[in-house]
């Protein structure tokens, strides 16, 4: 067979969408009829990864459902920057209750739709990493184990950014936050703690779990679209850089996100029924230092160089690559 496998890196740009593709294969975001679930004019910071991730994910949901959808939002940056009257940026029915209950509220919406026989309307819940891995974890686990017909999307920016950058259960090893400051014998967030929610979600045996990144729009949209083709509890964990909390350049949000993926620190994979069913291979692994060096929250690892910490973080990336088989043993050249 002679077809050329499309590699988006060939364009040499990080452009959203891809002009080399046929129109039908372009991303939802590249279409002129994209729905803008989250409209412009909201109050997110410049370079906000969460705002991008939310619009990418929800526009894909809108497209997959012909706009028949309801979104439930946990308290957090996304809720605050999108909702204050008269500037609600949401073009969809949207409900915010409190910080820790978005999965349960979404279960309730889904139950009401079942009771009313309106199962053509689909429900998504969304929140940041604090709402997901910490305060809302009980409700999330309940929604998973009941296999309620909800897609939960976590926008993981790795700390409590809305309250001013405090550590969450998703804050990475050695990262500075205002509650894991770069002082003491082990500056930043201690090594060896925190939780891996995609794996915990998989342990519930739910139909679909995936990780995604704002750096890979095709992959993100494909996973969201796939999730909407499935009934039951589904979970997508999207890595979204926060220039404010990560002390990174707002213009480099996509680059930072891409380096997290290419270093192996944030593996992209999907799982069905609790078993990894697919992964997005890394073409060429980059050292974690390239990713860390772009972020002020890790600067204490470089001045002076903390070889032990850098080696430990590199080992985490290497372990992911091994665990998920992110680097093909044979070159990814066969057609």
């Amino acid at each position: 067979m002679s077809y050329q496998r499309v590699k988006f890196y060939q364009t040499g740009t990080f452009t959203v969408g891809n002009r080399l593709l046929d129109e039908g294969d372009r991303t939802v975001q590249a279409r002129t009829d994209r729905s803008n679930s989250l409209n412009s004019g909201h109050r997110a910071c410049q370079g906000c990864g969460e705002a991008l991730g939310a619009r990418y994910a929800l526009d894909a949901v809108m497209r997959a459902t012909q706009n028949k959808m309801v979104a439930v939002n946990a308290t957090g940056c996304l809720e605050v920057f999108s909702s204050p009257y008269p500037e609600s940026a949401w073009q969809i029915p949207w409900l915010h209750s409190v910080f820790g209950n978005a999965p349960a509220v979404a279960s309730g919406v889904a139950a009401a739709l079942r009771a009313k026989g309106k199962t053509d309307i689909r429900v998504i819940a969304q929140g940041g990493d604090g709402a997901t891995v910490d305060i809302g974890f009980g409700c999330l686990s309940g929604m998973f184990e009941r296999n309620d017909d909800v897609l939960y999307v976590c926008y993981d920016n790795e700390a409590y950014m809305n309250t001013g950058i405090q550590r969450s259960g998703a804050t990475p090893a050695r990262a500075w936050t205002n509650t894991t400051q770069a002082v003491g014998t082990e500056p930043g967030n201690p090594m060896g703690i925190g939780k891996n929610l995609p794996c915990i979600a998989m342990a519930h045996g739910i139909p679909f779990v995936a990780t995604a990144s704002v750096a890979d729009l095709h992959d993100l949209e494909t996973k969201v679209t796939k999730a909407m083709s499935i009934r039951g509890a589904r979970y997508i964990h999207i890595h979204v850089p926060c220039p404010l909390g990560w002390k990174s350049d707002p213009a480099q949000t996509i680059k930072v996100a891409r380096l997290a993926v290419e270093s192996g620190l944030f593996p992209l994979f999907e799982a069905e029924g609790g078993v990894v069913s697919d992964r997005t291979p890394i073409r060429k692994q980059v050292p974690v230092e390239q990713y860390l060096a772009l972020q002020g929250r890790f600067k204490h690892l470089f001045n002076p160089r903390d070889e032990e910490a850098l080696a430990a973080i590199q080992a985490m990336a290497d372990r992911n690559i091994h665990l998920y088989g992110l680097l093909p043993t044979k070159p990814a050249m066969e057609t």
């Binding site: 309801v70 939002n73 909702s83 204050p84 029915p93 409900l95 309730g108 009771a115 009313k116 409700c139």
Partner: protein
Amino acid sequence: MKQQIEGSQAVAQAVALCRPEVMACYPISPQTHIVETLSRKVKVGEIGNCQFLNVESEFGALSVLIGASAMGARSYTATTSQGLLFMAEAVYNAAGLGLPIVMTIANRAIGAPINIWNDHSDSMAMRDSGWLQLFAEDNQEAVDLHIQAFRLAEELSCPVMVCMDGYILTHAFEEVDLPTQEQVDDFLPPFEPVQVLDPQDPVSIGAMVGPEAFTEVRYLAHHKHLQALEAIPRISQTFQNIFQRSSGGLLKLYHTDKAETLLLALGSVNGTIKDAVDDLRTEGWPVGAIQLCSYRPFPSHALRHAAQNAKRVIVIEKDLAVGNGGIVSSEVKLALQGLPTIVDTVIAGLGGRAISKAAVIDTVKAACLEGLEEPHFLDLNWEAINRELTRQAEQRRSGPTPENLLREIGLSSGKAL
């Protein structure tokens, strides 16, 4: 149809007749029999297409109902005590969002020390949450108030707690007249929400509101309660017209005409109080009683009208505002301000301690003859308290108070512990 039936079973029957669409429940005594019964009814298809969710916590239960109600579904749960406190954030949120959820509170004490028996500490802790709170005197009224609660909640778009005393009512077998489906359908129209999540007409519900409008939003929540002061008696009257019995309303009066002393209470203790009033009146004491059925909204005007000629109002309440005294009596005093009426606070029945007719009669006589200290604790074991206070004064590491008290009381009753 009249049946001998457990209170919880009767309430479950009444809720089922109201055609709920979503129920989310978490077990906690003493409300479990209600949700067990409802779960069975849903599973056998007795309640149409109603969805019953077994959730991971009370916080999850009410959160599910917030979503369901915002989607336009008639929603119900039951809880009590620690469960109500565990869902507290969602309790305030449901009221703030104006979602007409109905919830049974099987009133129970709050720990520590852990205690599963009846008092009113739980719902009192949520008195300012924005929920309407109706208190049932007996199981017939508990049944009737649930049916009224759905209508009230949905008319005002405001959540309602129906409070019934844990065990005393929930587990009591009494004769209850259970209505027919036709009667309930006549009384309770389908739920027509004032706000709903609709892809055809998308709205944002639960947006952030800053100082520019927050006070106005809170006032409108208060305004709903003012409207409820009118709606509660009207709905109670409509109920009477269809069901041929009187239930609910703001408050109920018992021999208040020409009574110089009025007893005032919420919930099942009103049965004991009415017996005490009968006995006292037989002895020639000019005594009457007021049963407060609506605690939120607090019917200040109706209460003032009912009590204006009394010399003394004795509030018997199953709660304690630690550091202050009576919760209900403070509100009664406010309602009667400017009148010469003496208002006594009697803290009674905490953690399930029985309130006997004899104790009520003795308290009334003591109040009228000698006056009561404020607040007055009914049947307090001062001996045990004083011995524990002495111990605490004598040694720094005096140990856990509840265990010490149990030992004191065991010793004083002659039991070796």
